[in-house]
Subunit: 352 residues, 2 copies
C-alpha cells in the first residue's frame, strides 16, 4: 500500500497526469496566453471563410471538443480532420481564405507536420498550438500559440475558444456566448477542486475495473470526444488493454444488440448539457442487461458551463487511469513501448 | 453443410444482405432516381451556403463516406452530424441558407425525425433519403429521394453524390470530378462481380474468425467510415460480439500500445487511394506483433475510382458477416433483440 502511494506521488510528476496540477496549468495558460489568443482572433475578424482543425490521437479528440463549443460561438464553418486526412481529402475549399489550426504537443507529429506543409502549399493561413516552441510545427506555421505545461487535452481547447471569441469580438456576444466566455475563467478553480476530491475515490474505482481486459467508453454531446480519447488513446495507450468508443446516443443504433450476448465493462461520461437524458437512458439500459457501468457525472463534479464539462472531467478520468496502470504494474506513465521510437513512422519523424 | 448452404440462400433474401443482389440494387436506383438527384442539385445551385448530413447508426457511416467524396466535388462546406447532435449542437449557421440532408431507411428513426423537426423550425431546407416513402421523414421533409430496395449503405451515398454533381453542373467538372462521376456508373457491374467472387471465399474467412469474441476494424481514407460501420453497427449488431473501430492512421496514435499486451483479431479495409501506404504499414506492424489480420484489399476487388471503393467493399464484408452469424447460430439476419421493439426510445418511435 505504501508503495502504491509512493507510485501515485511519482505519477503526479508525469507529463500524462496533468490532472494533479490542473488548476495551475489552466491558470498559467489563461494568464500568459489568453489575451494573445483573443488578439489573434481579433486580427482575423472578417478575413476567414473556413476553419480546419487538424491533429492526431489525443489532439484530434481535443479539437473535436473545441469544435463542439465553437459551433455555438462562430458562424464560420469549421471541421476537424485527422492530420493525414487533410492531405488525402484534398478539399476544394482549402485555399487562401481558410485558416488551418494544428495541434500537437511535441510539434513533431509526422502526420501533423505533413498536413502543415500541404496547407502552406495551398496558400492557407496556418496556426499551430504546440507544447514545444522549438519544434518543426512552431517553426513552420504562420502563427504559433505555445504553451509551457502539460494540460495537453485542455489547453488546445482553450486556445481555440479564446481565438473564436476574439474573432467574434466582445461587443457581439449573445448571453449564451457570454456565459461560456465567463465560465472559462472559472475552470481552473472548478477543475482543481474536482480533481482533489477525485483523489479520495479513484483507487476504489480502479479496483472495480481491475479484472477488465476491455473497457467500453460512452459519452454524448460535448463529452463524446473525451469518451473517444479515453477509450482509444488512454485506455489502450496507458493501461494497454482493449478499448471501444461509442457515442452514447449511437450505442442504441447497433452496438446495443451485442448486450444479448456479452456483458461489457462500461465507463459513461454523463454531462449537464442537453444530451444528459439520453445518456442516462443508455446507462440504465446497459445496467438492466447485466453490464457494470462506472459513471462520471458532471452534476457532482463539474460546476461550469455545460459545454465546458470535458475540461473538468478529463482530470477525473486521469486519476482512474493512473491507479489502473499502477495496479497493473505499469509504473512509468510517460513511457511508450512502440510510440516515439521511430518504429511507426516512415519519414524519420519522432512521433508517433 | 447442406443446412449452412440453405441458410445462406435464405439470408440472401434478408434486408441486411443486399450484397447478394447489389448489381440490381445499384442499377435500379441509378436508372430510376439518378436523374432526380441531379435535377434537385441543379435547382439548388448558388442557393445553398452550408450542407448538413444527418443520420444515425449505419446511415451516419454512409453519410460520412459521402462527405469524404463530396469534399472533392463541391466548394460548399458540409458536415456530418449524428441526428440528436443536430439539436444539441445548436449551430449558429443552421438557418435558411443551409440544406439539411437526412438519411434513414425506415424514415422513422427517433433521433432523425427529431433532427428534421428542429431543422424545419430553424427555417433550413430539408431533403430526406428514405427507404419507406410512407414514413414520417418522407412526409415532413421539403424534398424526398425515395428508394425501393435494400442497399441501405450504398444508395444514400449515390444520392448525395449525384445531388452534388447536379449542384456543380456537368459543364464545370474537372477531370478528377469527371472520373468520379463516370465511375459511379461502373459501380453496379464492379460491385456485382466482386460480390459473386467473394461468395466462394467468404466461408473460409468467417471460420478464421469464428473463435473471436471481439474484432477490431481498421480502415483509412474513404474506407474509414465503412470500418466504423462494420465494427459498431454490423459486428456488434449482427454477430453480437465486441467490436472496436479505429482509423488505420489513428491506430498508431495510442491504440497500438495495447499490442504489447493483447493480440487482437483485426479486419483491415485496404483501399486504392492515397491512404493505402499507411494502412499497409499498420497491417504489417500488427502482424509483426502477433495479431491475426484479415485484409480486404480493394486492388483485388474494387475496379472503380479509388474514392468509390467503399461502395464495392461493403458487399464483400456482408458475406463475412452472413457466414459469421450463421456459423454462430444467428439465423435471422433481420431480427433484432432490442432495436425496433420500442425498448430504446422515449417517444414511442419504432427505431431504434
Amino acid at each position: 500500500m505504501d508503495e502504491l502511494r509512493a507510485r501515485v506521488e511519482q505519477a503526479k510528476k508525469s507529463l500524462f497526469f496533468s490532472g494533479a496540477r490542473i488548476a495551475d496549468h489552466l491558470n498559467s495558460f489563461l494568464n500568459e496566453r489568453g489575451r494573445l489568443c483573443e488578439e489573434i482572433g481579433g486580427t482575423h475578424a472578417d478575413k476567414i471563410r473556413h476553419i480546419f482543425l487538424v491533429g492526431s490521437g489525443g489532439s484530434f479528440a481535443s479539437l473535436q471538443t473545441a469544435k463542439y463549443i465553437l459551433d455555438r460561438i462562430i458562424n464560420i464553418p469549421s471541421e476537424v480532420v485527422m492530420s493525414y486526412e487533410l492531405i488525402w481529402r484534398n478539399y476544394r475549399r482549402l485555399d487562401k481564405d481558410a485558416l488551418v489550426i494544428f495541434s500537437s504537443y511535441s510539434g513533431e507529429t509526422e502526420d501533423t507536420v505533413a498536413g502543415l506543409r500541404m496547407a502552406c502549399k495551398r496558400g492557407a493561413g496556418t496556426l499551430a498550438i504546440v507544447g514545444q516552441p522549438e519544434s518543426t510545427l512552431a517553426r513552420e506555421a504562420d502563427i504559433v500559440i505555445p504553451y509551457a505545461n502539460g494540460a495537453i487535452y485542455e489547453i488546445p481547447i482553450l486556445a481555440v475558444l479564446l481565438y473564436a471569441f476574439g474573432l467574434v469580438g466582445c461587443d457581439n456576444l449573445t448571453p449564451d456566448m457570454s456565459a461560456i466566455y465567463n465560465s472559462i475563467f472559472q475552470l481552473p478553480e472548478a477543475a482543481g477542486e474536482a480533481s482533489q476530491l477525485e483523489e479520495t475515490v479513484a483507487e476504489a474505482k480502479a479496483r472495480r475495473l481491475l479484472s477488465a481486459d476491455h473497457i467500453y467508453v460512452l459519452g454524448s454531446g460535448p463529452l463524446s470526444p473525451l469518451a473517444y480519447k479515453l477509450a482509444m488513446s488512454v485506455i489502450m495507450e496507458n493501461i494497454r488493454i482493449g478499448g471501444t468508443y461509442s457515442d452514447a446516443s449511437e450505442w442504441r443504433h447497433g452496438p446495443v444488440e451485442a448486450l444479448s450476448n456479452i456483458k461489457p465493462n462500461l465507463i459513461a461520461l454523463l454531462g449537464t448539457d442537453e444530451s444528459r437524458q439520453l445518456t442516462l437512458q443508455t446507462i440504465d439500459f446497459c445496467r438492466q442487461h447485466g453490464s457494470e457501468v462506472l459513471v462520471y457525472d458532471a452534476v457532482e463534479s463539474a460546476n461550469v458551463h455545460p459545454l465546458l464539462t470535458p475540461l473538468v472531467m478529463n482530470s477525473l478520468t486521469q486519476w482512474l487511469v493512473v491507479y489502473s496502470a499502477l495496479l497493473r504494474g505499469i509504473t512509468d506513465l510517460d513511457a511508450r513501448v512502440f510510440m516515439g521510437h521511430r518504429m511507426l513512422t516512415s519519414t524519420g519523424a519522432s512521433w508517433p
